[in-house]
Subunit: 136 residues, 2 copies
Amino acid sequence: MLSKKTKYGIKALTFLARREDQTPVQIAEIAKSENISIKFLESILLLLRHSGFLGAKKGKGGGYYLIKDPKEINMAKVYRILEGPIALLPCASHNFYEPCDDCTDEATCAVRKLMMEVRDNTLRILENNSLADIAF
Amino acid sequence: MLSKKTKYGIKALTFLARREDQTPVQIAEIAKSENISIKFLESILLLLRHSGFLGAKKGKGGGYYLIKDPKEINMAKVYRILEGPIALLPCASHNFYEPCDDCTDEATCAVRKLMMEVRDNTLRILENNSLADIAF
DNA sequence: CTTTAATCTAGTAAACCGATAGGGTAATAG
DNA sequence: CTATTACCCTATCGGTTTACTAGATTAAAG
């Protein structure tokens, strides 16, 4: 199940992508529009800024804004930043690989085999979708 | 991420499917072979029995055994029993549908749109895989 | 009938994680 | 200088997962 963090993060990105101009938007405005707790959204937007998706401006007239063109924002990258690994098991992950401590032989592990197939397909979908694809 | 419950459950099913005869196997034997806590595994096997995948025999010479042919065991069903919904969001689920309380319009929700696509593909993979497919 | 071996059941504790709130700091515009 | 807004750190509450403990129940074997 997707965490609320990821859900809210994508919603906020979508909200920004759908705006006509790219002037800064206050956290409170996004929070109100999307029914998200301001404080929680604050931490999410901060993370998205540190990850290079958003820019921020402090003080009067400040707020958050998209740095890149929505067409250039890859949903697989967004997912990894917000949610973490795309794979359902650490041993089936590319970017977050870790061996299972209970497995004796990874090569014959049926769970891993199945979950690798699921991961490959999920990854393909996320990589083929940009923010622009899902926002419009 | 997959819970250990699901991981252990599938591992146990695989272990049983790979056996040549279908005589009962004690919990302890499965637990030892797959490095799983006996008591935790016990609760998982019980669940799988109540769901119609396993049979159990009490007393001396007892244990658990597969009821159906591994070819007839659909991994989507197994997944739903052990892990729950296949969809990453309740609003994108067939069997466990629930509307989001923060969403004003489901039709224009970009997160839902993306997660429905992911779900469709994950579901297709799980349904196309039987226990026999992943065990051998 | 008695013993033994196994499943079944209930309760609970520890650990972890998600979500949120509070409060103070820093930068910016007017 | 003052108001506004993002930034950052800490703590808490609640739920879920994982795991363990202790006993009850059932069935086979001798």
